[in-house]
């Protein structure tokens, strides 16, 4: 996994609530057996019109907005457990998703792929969305070590599981940790068998 410590960049505003993983990556694109290429199809059905033409109203088709940060409405990533949603966002180039609330499974999937789900207060989110809309060049700094997001809206600290923070900063994943616990797991299995 790629390491993540600090990121400075512009953002794409997507002020829609309850964005589910079916929108992030529709099911018909889940037929691949590797993790490549999902970025091309992120938000596919919002990016294109019925006739296949570009939906010029959709923010990802608006050249004014770009950057490694997606700022989205409340309850981002609800629905299906498909990790393809994280691969699609990462493949497109997003490293951080800012929202006022994340669905559990998506949050875990994002962290397992080096994408930071950054939860801010509803007020901060509202102001940030407005600020980016008015000034697409708004610069945002995400400092994972200090757990602080800084923008024209102000500075706000954010929470992250301390273990996951260490993983993100060092590029570790859970498999490394779990494999280091092999003996503990095996002794747990033995004790359980005896208890039955």
């Amino acid at each position: 996994m790629e390491k993540f410590t600090k990121l400075i960049g512009t953002a794409v505003p997507l002020p829609v609530e309850n964005i589910d993983t079916d929108q992030i990556i529709p099911a018909r694109f889940l037929k691949a057996t590797d993790k490549k290429g999902f970025g091309n199809n992120v938000f596919q059905d919002w990016r294109f019109n019925k006739d296949g033409s570009k939906n010029e109203d959709f923010v990802l088709n608006n050249d004014a907005y770009s950057g490694p940060i997606l700022v989205a409405g409340n309850n981002f990533g609800c629905g299906s457990s498909r990790e393809h949603a994280a691969w699609a966002l990462g493949g497109y180039g997003f490293k951080v998703v800012v929202s006022s609330f994340f669905a559990d499974i998506f949050k875990g999937n994002a962290l397992n792929n080096g994408i930071l789900p950054l939860q801010v207060t509803p007020d901060y989110l509202k102001n940030l969305l407005q600020t980016i809309k008015e000034n697409p060049k708004t610069e945002i700094t995400v400092d994972l070590e200090k757990q602080v997001i800084t923008s024209a809206v102000g500075e706000q600290s954010f929470d992250i599981d301390p273990y996951k923070k260490v993983c993100m900063i060092n590029g570790y994943d859970d498999i490394d940790y779990l494999l280091s616990k092999k003996e503990t797991i095996e002794s747990f299995e033995r004790e359980r068998k005896m208890a039955v």
Binding site: V16, Q23, S81, F102, D104, D161, P162, D174, L178
Partner: protein, 480 residues
């Protein structure tokens, strides 16, 4: 044991008023599976059963391969092909090359690592959340995971069961464990008498419409009250299945005689002395009377009616007699624009051209019995395409044994082969753009059943009635 008692007495002396709160069903199962705790971090949770399917497993197998890691406990994994399978001509090679490749990969991986696979055409093949319970794989007190958010279904047995991402699928392959922070505890109680025509699907749609799609995020839910106690296992599975639609990773119902009766005699159920021993343990699992929850909701069963969704998430539901909310809300407006509905309107009388009875929510034998009972002697409306997709080969077989297949075919319904089908429309079972589908599945997201398709979630009874009438009707007026 002696040490433990002494310690308890000692604490008692210093703090005479402090009493250890009881444990919830969730606590009991969770605590029994904690292998280790990371300082200041998550816990290592042991997983008893790992269910896999073709869509969310290939990248996990590839990950192991790349890192040279073996599968730790292949005998605790069960595989099926369900998400991306055709529901017609399953005996023929799959036409779509990508789908065929995905199934081929599953077969190769299962062969390579010695994992039991109920492949397409196998007598035990079917939707992962239908087959594991019907084969007796799902048992109370277990931890179960699957790369599918509706794994919450198995909680109906008093099991900690939840959906995971593909990285976690790889973690379980590698270690039979997951790193997790223990969720908080939520209890949803529904007490009282349900009205006629109100099914388990209506109960859960009602609950979600009341508390919203993220009320359960960060929580594991327990469903309690006489309504759930009196439900069949099929009904309990429908309820637990949709826990994720209110954000909860999982939902559980205390195991009881109904649970034991369902499991007994199934293929992988414990037998003989082991059965007795297991039942004794299972009986110790229900939540203690003095256990505490972080959040509780209570509902009156009498307030529930047959339910329908009008929007693009499962929380946007209303009673059949209700009207779409009339309020200024951008998200509501965006949803209604997609659905082609107006604020303040009733859905009764809306013409519907597609009906889907299937999915891990409502594709069990009881669901088809309910639908057949209504349909018997009637015929579907001319405008309606009515698709019935059983959850498994076993359900399909039972349909025939009970003669329900005749009831449906005589009524003009199309009976297809098992699979996830039009619930997520990965295969060819797609609802055309702009069309409405009254569906017994679990999600009404934009495009879920096909690009531009408009989903109205409902119970199998409501779906059957819609198929017969060709429009949405108030089912309570049609019941004798």
């Amino acid at each position: 044991m002696t040490v433990f008692l002494l310690k308890s007495v000692k604490i008692g002396c210093f703090e005479p008023n402090i009493k250890m709160a009881g444990k919830t069903l969730f606590d009991k199962v969770w605590d029994a599976h904690v292998v280790d705790t990371v300082a200041n971090g998550p816990q290592v949770l042991y997983i008893d059963k790992h269910l896999i399917h073709e869509v969310t497993s290939p990248q996990a197998f590839a990950e192991l391969e790349e890192r040279g890691i073996p599968v730790a406990r292949p005998d605790q994994i069960v595989a099926t092909a369900d998400h991306n399978t055709p529901t017609v001509d399953q005996h023929l090679p799959i036409k779509d090359a990508l789908s065929r490749n995905q199934l081929q990969k599953l077969t190769e991986n299962c062969d390579k690592y010695g994992i039991t696979l109920y492949d397409l055409g196998h007598e035990f093949n079917g939707i992962v959340h239908v087959i594991a319970p019907e084969l007796g794989i799902t048992q109370p007190g277990m931890t179960m995971v699957c790369g599918d958010s509706h794994t919450s279904t198995h909680g109906a047995f008093g099991t900690i069961a939840f959906g995971i991402g593909t990285s976690q699928v790889a973690q379980v392959f590698a270690s039979q464990c997951l790193l997790l922070t223990k969720p908080k505890k939520l209890r949803v109680s529904v007490n009282g008498e349900l009205k006629r025509g109100v099914l388990p699907k209506d109960v859960i749609l009602y609950v979600i419409s009341k508390i919203g799609t993220n009320a359960g995020t960060g929580y594991f839910c327990e469903y309690a009250g006489n309504v759930f106690e009196e439900m069949s296992m099929e009904g309990r599975m429908t309820v637990c299945n949709m826990s994720i639609e209110m954000g909860a990773r999982g939902g559980m119902i205390a195991p009881d005689e109904t649970t034991f009766e369902y499991i007994k005699g199934r293929k992988f159920a414990p037998k003989g002395a082991e059965w007795e021993q297991k039942v004794k343990y299972w009986k110790s699992l229900p939540t203690d009377a003095d256990a505490e929850f972080d959040k509780e909701y209570n509902f009156d069963a009498a307030d529930i009616e047959p339910m329908l969704t009008y929007g693009t998430n499962p929380g946007m539901g209303m009673k059949i007699s209700g009207h779409i909310p009339d309020k200024n809300d951008e998200n509501l407006e965006k949803s209604l624009e997609y659905m082609g509905f107006n604020k303040g309107e009733s859905l009764i009388g809306k013409p519907i051209n597609y009906v889907f009875i299937g999915s891990c929510t409502n594709s069990r034998i009881e669901d088809f019995r309910i639908a057949a009972n209504y349909v018997k002697g009637k015929h579907k409306a001319d405008n309606v395409n009515a698709w019935l997709v059983p959850g498994s080969q076993q359900v399909a077989k039972q349909l025939v044994e009970e003669g329900l297949d005749h009831v449906f075919t005589e009524a003009g319904f199309t009976l297809r082969q098992p699979g996830c089908s039009a619930c997520l429309a990965m295969n060819d079972d797609k609802i055309p753009r702009g069309e409405y589908c009254v569906s017994t599945s679990n999600r009404n997201f934009e495009g879920r059943q096909g690009q531009g398709a408009r989903t109205i979630l409902a119970s199998p009874l409501m779906a059957a009635a819609t198929a017969v009438e060709g429009k949405i009707v108030d089912i309570t007026k049609n019941l004798n």
